[in-house]
């Protein structure tokens, strides 16, 4: 994954994309983020929402870690009881997208240029006023970063990003733990 510029990660760290399928229960999210926080890994972005199965959520986390710890992070996440599966998507083919809402100040002169720039990136204007525009753009991380760079030239911008959402490559089957009998049942039978 291309590391974005201007990031204070330094040579030792890299951005790891982790996809987590977890139970949709109170505290489950906190367990995952707590695991990362207690080890001092900075979370670049995090999105979570319900899947088609209402008892499960899918989470996409982008974490700042040392490359040699990537495997350990995934293993520790899989240990959590609420986590059904944690996958590292950093190197593997997957589709990822991010949504960004950008407010740009635009006086008379720059307005058309901004609209043309937005069109190039396939972004839409969702709000317009005499002060400026609010523009919505979606794309993979690289495209989003380029869009923000482009827009920066036009004046003061304010950005609200959703964070990366990813979907795994198909074909991998989810292996879950089947039900087990309680101790009392095992003693009886």
């Amino acid at each position: 994954m291309r590391q974005p510029e201007g990031r204070a990660t330094g040579d030792k760290f890299m951005l790891q994309i982790i996809l987590v399928l977890l139970e949709n229960k109170p505290g489950a999210l906190l367990r995952v983020t707590g695991l990362l926080g207690s080890r001092g890994y900075n979370i670049e972005s995090l999105t979570v929402a319900r899947t088609l199965d209402p008892t499960l959520s899918r989470m996409t986390i982008v974490v700042d870690v040392e490359p040699k710890l990537c495997v350990q992070v995934i293993k520790q996440m899989n240990k959590l009881i609420n986590v059904l599966q944690a996958t590292d998507l950093t190197e593997s083919p997957s589709v990822s997208r991010e949504l960004v809402l950008l407010r740009v100040r635009a006086e008379q002169e720059g307005r058309t240029a901004i609209l043309k720039e937005a069109e190039i990136f396939g972004a839409r204007v969702v709000d317009s006023s005499t002060e400026g525009f609010v523009i919505e753009a979606t794309g993979d991380l690289e495209k989003v970063e380029e869009f923000l760079e482009a827009m920066r030239c036009y004046g003061e911008i304010e950005v609200s990003r959703s964070g990366t959402v990813a979907i795994p490559p198909g074909g991998k089957k989810l292996r879950l733990q089947p039900p087990v009998p309680t101790r009392a049942e095992m003693v009886r039978t």
Binding site: L22, E23, P26, G27, L30, R31, G34, S38, V71, Q72, K75, Q76, N78, K79, L80, I81, N82, V83, L84, Q85, R175, L176, Q177, P178, P179, V180, P181, T182, R183, A184, E185, V187
Partner: protein
């Protein structure tokens, strides 16, 4: 079975009975009053401790001595927070315990109510898993899940937080028969291909070495370990958590490796070409500086927790599984090779054993004996002589712990009980209480330092109340010994807050609680004093004043390699 309408408190007790709980340790409080009321006419035994921290340690002692799940109980707020040290201790040493904590009424949660604390949040990183019960209907399922998670896979502590209204609510109790935790994967069977690779690697080895630890104890795999050691005919080291996994008197046993391990153990670990790691986690106390740890050895690592494999050291043959099940298969595979290939590398192996024996003879762990003061090593050797490898010995944390581990034999698992990973002082005495309840007919010796002992004095009341025949041996050097050792060796002997003055008179202290106590400080009186203590039918407090300036050797200094041990105090240099 018919469904009954009963209170949440009674439902909890029913679940505990079904889980085989016979005895648990706790301290009541406001929000657990409904539970304690239900307990009043129930047959389950509750042991009242004098500090919640000791309820958790006692539950650990119980679990470590039996392999069953230990149970402790505390009220909300300060009761629950007092359990935390015990929870983290269980987490570090992988001990199965279930902690039941009361919580304020559901409607008051989040309002800073009296004795309210965010127990669920605070204990999240302190436990293998935790639960907050929202209503009485989900109580039975949660309790059974808690016991299952605590005892299965890599064991650990599980906390269940129960609001007062759940204890009081009436619910229909239907026994729970299955547990469904789709995200909780337990790997018991090792990969057959990996096991075969391991067997071949062992067979081709010239200097095989077995590094066994707490996992052998947790899996009850002592018999399999013994068979394996004899099949492979390799030297075996047991870590601090694994002592007793192989009988200390077994000819293949080389003692403990690591920071205060024996010379032969550390040299052997460093000189091996194949290390078979069984139920261990390559802890920093054992490995020393990782870059220098056995740099030329190939490692076969068997562990039930996949996250431990490759965590500190990359391994050639990783095997995830229950070490007992894996050893059963590995023993078979190794035995097959023995038959097919005969005595492979016989000469190299014989040379390896000659080398190991030479190292053992070069620096054996022998106790030093003086006739003017009692040396701590002498004390441990005497305890060893009197227990003959058969008694349960609990230890607190510090120098005495290291000397006990070095010099006392354990010929069976679950006899040596100590706080390894967390090193929590104040552990030894309450753990002995738990162990004695678990094994009422066994001799339980609690070796504590004067520091750790003073953290547990309240529990002398618990011991007196139940007449527990625990033999408390205080190794008293008037210091926080390990701190003093490090300050002497690394901080220019600037003894900052390492001196423990005002130790109470042992005879008077024990007498205050209604049992016998004595102080001994002359070497020639030691044997008789210990024998008298052990012969006493009830509890006994023996305060042994030992030499204050002894340091634990060998020592691998922090950041050092394990084959560069400091073997003794620096010798004085002649002035020219």
């Amino acid at each position: 079975m018919s469904t009954n309408l009963m209170s949440g408190a009674k439902i909890l007790l029913e679940c505990m009975v079904r889980e085989g709980v016979e005895c648990f340790f706790g301290y009541p409080g406001g929000v657990t009053l409904p539970f304690y009321d239900a307990l009043y006419d129930h047959h389950i035994r509750h042991v009242l401790v004098r500090h919640e921290e000791n309820a958790a340690f006692a539950a650990e002692g119980y679990a470590r001595a039996t392999g069953k799940v230990g149970v402790c109980c505390a009220t909300s707020g300060p009761g629950a927070t007092n359990l935390i040290t015990g929870l983290v201790d269980s987490l570090m040493d992988s001990i199965p315990i279930v902690a039941l904590t009361g919580q304020v009424h559901s409607t008051l949660i989040g309002s800073d109510a009296f004795q309210e604390a965010d127990t669920f949040g605070i204990t999240r990183p302190c436990t293998k898993h935790n639960f907050m019960v929202k209503n009485v209907a989900e109580l039975p399922q949660i309790v059974h899940e808690a016991f299952y998670v605590a005892a299965s896979g890599r064991p650990g502590p599980v906390l269940v937080d129960i609001p007062k209204d759940v204890f009081m609510a009436q619910g229909h109790y239907t026994p729970v028969t299955t547990i469904h935790l789709p995200g909780y994967k337990v790997f018991t069977e090792g990969h057959t291909g990996q096991i075969k690779r391991a067997a071949q690697m062992i067979w081709d080895a010239e200097r095989p070495f077995i590094y066994a630890g707490g996992g052998i104890i947790a899996a009850n795999a002592s018999a399999e370990l013994r068979e394996f050691a004899e099949l492979v005919d390799a030297p075996v080291v047991c870590t601090l958590m694994g002592l007793g996994g192989l009988p200390a008197e077994h000819p293949n046993f080389i003692s403990m490796p690591g920071m205060h391990g024996s010379y032969a153990a550390n040299m052997g670990m460093s000189g091996a070409d194949v290390i078979i790691a069984l139920g261990v986690r390559f802890d920093d106390r054992v490995t020393g500086r990782l870059a220098a740890f056995a740099p030329h050895a190939k490692i076969i690592h068997v562990d039930i927790d996949p996250a431990e494999i490759g965590k500190n050291r990359a391994v050639e043959v990783p095997i995830v599984g229950d070490v007992k099940r894996v050893l059963e298969k590995l023993n078979k595979a190794t035995a097959e090779r023995k038959v097919s290939f005969g005595a492979r590398n016989a000469a190299a192996r014989r040379e390896w054993w000659t080398q190991i024996r030479a190292w053992k003879e070069q620096f054996p762990l022998v106790p030093s004996i003086s006739d003017t003061e009692i040396k701590p090593q002498h004390l441990m050797a005497e305890i060893d002589r009197l227990t003959g490898g058969k008694a349960i010995v609990t230890s607190d944390v510090g120098q005495h712990q290291m000397w006990a581990a070095q010099l006392i034999r354990f010929n069976a698992p679950r006899l040596w009980i100590n706080s390894g990973g967390l090193g929590a002082m104040g552990f030894g005495l309450p753990a002995a209480i738990g162990a004695q309840f678990a094994q009422p007919h066994k001799l339980v010796v609690s070796i504590v330092g004067d520091g750790g002992f003073q953290m547990s004095i309240p529990e002398l009341a618990t011991i007196a109340s139940h007449g527990l025949p625990i033999k408390i041996i205080v190794m008293n050097n008037g210091y926080l010994g390990m701190i003093r050792q490090w300050q002497e060796l690394f901080y220019n002997n600037r003894l900052s807050s390492a001196t423990l003055d005002c130790f109470p008179d042992a005879e008077k202290l024990a007498g205050a609680y209604g049992f016998k106590g004595r102080t001994v400080e002359k070497p020639r009186e030691l044997a008789a004093a210990l024998e008298a203590a052990f012969a006493e039918p009830g509890p006994y407090l023996l305060n042994v004043k030992v030499s204050p300036s002894e340091n634990v050797y060998p020592m691998v200094p922090s950041g050092g390699a394990i084959n560069e041990m400091v073997m003794g105090p620096p010798q004085p240099v002649a002035v020219p």
